[in-house]
């Protein structure tokens, strides 16, 4: 009987074969990512080293803060590892393709469990380990820690990673026995994004900028009480922090080290027993077909029937909307986007412009243009994520479009309209509501509203067209398409365009507002009027050109696909 590690061999052999057959492009990619990795490593090391040496200056207080800092560090990773464990276990234990091969062979479930659990722990925690490595190295060197500190660090991090991942895997086992695995994955993804969105909003709504005001600083005792409040001696993060802190000074905290190891072993044994009982039932359930959601959305068909578009475009639109709504990975990201939009507008609401009254008018108008630029950047990001992959999202089914009696122009325009309507709604909300909150001059309100409308059409046209020029039909998800060289090229073009538009609209508007202010009552000179008109006309021409170029080149690229 082979040990369970035998089941990990295909992964090892595959990596070895991949390295042996490395091509030049792979080396370049690895060098790029490796370079970035080294930079991050060095930055983390220096950050940890600098903070630890600074804390050294405060003796006991510094020790206290370092101790809390270590517990906080591990506490942060604890929740990350647990969530990562849940998501990774879904894939390694239930959705992985090779399970159909392994489970048809006479391999005991216990061995499959240990092999898959090892894989889950490695996949979930490698990022945490890579992050912890320079940080603990920085802390150790700054404190001139003995060699035992580094050994203890290894012996602490290993069980610390196992505990939350085991808890996450257990949760997955439970979830999959209640819901089909794919549905469980969707639920988890949704929960994760709602959680992330809530954290973003929460952090913003507590108004951290108030901490910078002297009058709102809490007293020192209250400050430390707040810092310590989430740290409980019952969590593995506390045990890990205490074990490492003791070994920093050359001591040993065997109690907390033992707590870590015994808990890790106990969790693994309990999970193994649970998997022997429920794993196969869960795996069997994970293969059941999923039911379509939003299948009762007849209202979508009814609303689309009223649109003044051709039958072809209407059907393409309905198909795109249904596919989008049924893919949780697509629409759930809108929740995060919504949170960011709310936070964005909230920032304008809490702006305290009255603190400097004589500058308020100028700052308001400046913010109005800053808002226009920011809205443009937000739109570019949303367009690269949701509009640019629109053509690629046809994937292997693109043959249906290619063999159907429809023109590529019709096809691309349907993609354009399904992108431009929601983006226009979003960009107008961002600018109009922000301008209302700022109470800017009516002239600026009009200029930015018209400007953002033109920018939306241009950016969506460019994203649709470039998405057709650089399609990736084999990509698994839209994020991969957005991160492709074509996506990066779009972002460069989009950002350049947004900057040009802000300059073209900002300069004449500022001249106009300056002249209209009460201090400068003299009328416009004809050359000033002409220059303002030229700027506005150029902005319109540029937007039209970007839009037309995007769409036409996209249609041409599809036609030339052959």
């Amino acid at each position: 009987m082979q040990p369970f590690t035998y089941l990990l061999l295909p992964g090892y052999w595959s990596s070895r074969n991949r390295i042996a057959r490395t091509e030049r492009a792979d080396v370049a990619r690895a060098s790029l990512f490796g370079g970035v990795g080294v930079l991050v490593f060095v930055a983390l090391f220096w950050g940890a080293f600098w903070i630890t040496t600074q804390l050294d200056a405060y003796e006991e207080l510094g020790d206290f803060l370092l101790r809390i800092g270590l517990s906080w560090l591990f506490l942060t990773f604890l929740s990350f590892l647990a969530f990562s464990g849940i998501v990774t276990a879904l894939s390694t234990f239930f959705l992985s393709e090779d399970l159909r091969l392994l489970l048809a062979t006479p391999v005991a479930v216990r061995r499959v469990f240990y092999a898959r659990f090892t894989k889950t722990v490695l996949q979930s925690s490698w990022m945490v380990v890579i992050f912890l490595l320079p940080v603990l190295l920085g802390v150790g060197i700054a404190r001139c820690a003995p060699c035992m500190f580094y050994v203890t660090a290894l012996l602490t991090v290993a069980p610390f990673c196992v505990i939350p991942v085991a808890a996450g895997t257990g949760t997955t086992l439970l979830l999959v026995n209640v819901f089909p695995a794919r549905r469980a994955r969707d639920i988890l993804m949704l929960m994760g994004l709602v959680f992330a969105g809530s954290i973003v909003l929460l952090l913003r709504f507590i108004q951290p900028e108030r901490l910078l005001r002297v009058e709102s600083l809490p007293d020192v005792t209250g400050f430390f009480a707040t810092l310590q409040s989430p740290i409980t001696p019952l969590l593995p993060s506390f045990w890990a922090g205490e074990t490492l802190f003791a070994s920093l000074a050359g001591g040993r905290d065997l109690l907390h080290a033992a707590a870590l190891w015994t808990t890790a072993c106990a969790f693994t044994v309990m999970l193994s027993a649970a998997s022997e009982r429920w794993y196969f039932a869960g795996f069997s359930k994970s293969q059941e077909a999923r039911k379509a959601r939003f299948n009762q959305l007849r209202i979508l068909d009814m609303l689309a029937a009223f649109l003044p578009v051709s039958v072809v475009r209407r059907n393409l639109l309905i198909k795109d909307l249904k596919v989008f709504l049924r893919d949780v990975t697509q629409w759930s990201q809108l929740l995060l986007l919504l949170a960011l939009v709310v936070m964005y507008l909230y920032n304008f609401q809490v702006l305290d412009l009255d603190r400097i009254p004589y500058m308020a008018g100028f700052i308001k108008n400046f913010y109005a243009f800053l808002n226009l630029g920011l809205a443009g950047f937000v739109m570019s990001t949303v367009a690269v994520r949701f509009v640019f992959p629109a053509v690629s999202s046809e994937g292997a089914a693109f043959w249906i479009i290619r063999t159907a009696p429809i023109t590529y122009r019709d096809f691309l325009w349907s993609k354009f309209w399904s992108g431009v309507v929601p983006l226009l709604l979003m960009s107008l909300t961002l600018t109009v509501v922000a301008n209302e909150l700022l109470a800017v001059a009516p002239f600026l309100k009009a200029v930015t509203a018209v400007g953002i409308t033109f920018m939306t059409f241009a950016l969506v046209g460019l994203a649709t067209g470039m998405g057709a020029r650089y399609p990736r039909f084999s990509s698994d998800n839209a994020t991969q398409v957005a991160g492709s060289p074509g996506g990066v090229a779009f972002m460069i073009a989009a950002v350049s365009y947004v900057i040009s538009m802000v300059v073209l609209l900002g300069w004449p508007s500022s001249v106009f507002l300056w002249r209209l202010s009460r201090l400068h009552v003299r009328p416009f000179r004809p050359d000033e009027v002409a220059l303002i008109a030229v700027c506005f006309a150029t902005a319109i021409a540029l937007s039209t050109a970007v839009f037309l170029y995007g769409m036409r080149s996209g249609v041409k690229a599809l036609e030339e696909m052959g």
């Binding site: 082979q2 090779d98 489970l103 048809a104 062979t105 006479p106 069997s284 293969q287 059941e288």
Partner: protein, 250 residues
């Protein structure tokens, strides 16, 4: 060799397999026919140990699959309809890994691997990555793996999909040779010519239930047709052809 008793699989209120009984004896090639969605693949997956039956029992080589899954699976070879093979392994590495899962190692393994690769005409591809293989080659590699450990029974789900005529002929002769050596083969297929040509007995499944079983001649008799083609018998037994409406639709 393969014995199935009152096998059922329920998905919510939908019954995919409804009380199937089946016996495949040593050396028999048993065809498992049925229209799409009749319950063939669900049954095969349950016998392979990939899907938990709602009720019923499965025995392979005398071992109860629910009570002794490892012993039952050790006697079984499984050829799925969509073969999964580690793309970054070579054909040889994949077969050696697969052999290890069945407890095969040590002397003779390399020889057996080469023997199987040569049998399925993949000998010169032993050190090539699976990702460079065509669908038909992958299918043949999975068959190598299924026969590698000398199973007593083999489950095959749609064996001819993606195979060229030469590959199909090769597979047919391998299956015949294996059955002559006493291997029981349960083969699900849509290709009625293959079933008619190769199978000793055929079971026809419809809406999760076995509606007919017997040799090709016995099935012809049950269908009440003297038509040489098995297709006509199959269509008759599984609920009409719909041909009469075709003219109206077209």
């Amino acid at each position: 060799m393969i014995s199935i008793q009152n096998l059922r699989k329920q998905y919510g209120s939908f019954t995919a397999v409804d009380g199937v009984d089946l016996e495949v004896t040593s050396g028999e090639i048993h065809g498992f026919l049925g229209p799409n969605g009749a319950g063939k693949t669900t049954s095969i997956k349950m016998i392979a140990g990939l899907l938990k039956p709602t009720s019923g029992r499965i025995f392979v080589n005398g071992h109860d699959l629910a009570a002794k899954p490892e012993a039952a699976k050790a006697s079984l070879g499984f050829i799925p309809d969509r073969p999964y093979i580690y793309e970054k392994l070579t054909a040889g590495e994949f077969l050696r890994f697969h052999a290890g899962l069945y407890g095969m190692n040590g002397n003779g393994l390399n020889g057996r691997v080469r023997e199987m690769l040569d049998l399925f005409e993949l000998g010169r591809w032993e050190h090539e990555l699976v990702e460079s293989f065509s669908h038909g080659m992958k299918q043949r590699l999975v068959m190598c793996a299924a026969f590698l450990h000398r199973p007593r029974a083999v489950l095959v789900d749609e064996p001819m999909v993606g195979l060229d005529p030469r590959g199909a002929k090769l597979i047919k002769s391998v299956f015949r040779r294996m059955s002559e050596h006493g291997v029981a083969i349960l083969m699900s297929t849509h290709t009625l010519e293959v079933a008619g040509e190769m199978c000793d007995r055929i079971s026809i499944i419809l809406k999760g239930k076995i509606i007919a079983r017997g040799t090709v001649d016995e099935l012809r008799a049950m269908g009440g047709t003297r038509d040489e083609e098995l297709t006509a018998v199959f269509l008759k037994l599984t609920g009409g052809t719909g041909l009469q409406e075709l003219d109206e639709i077209v």
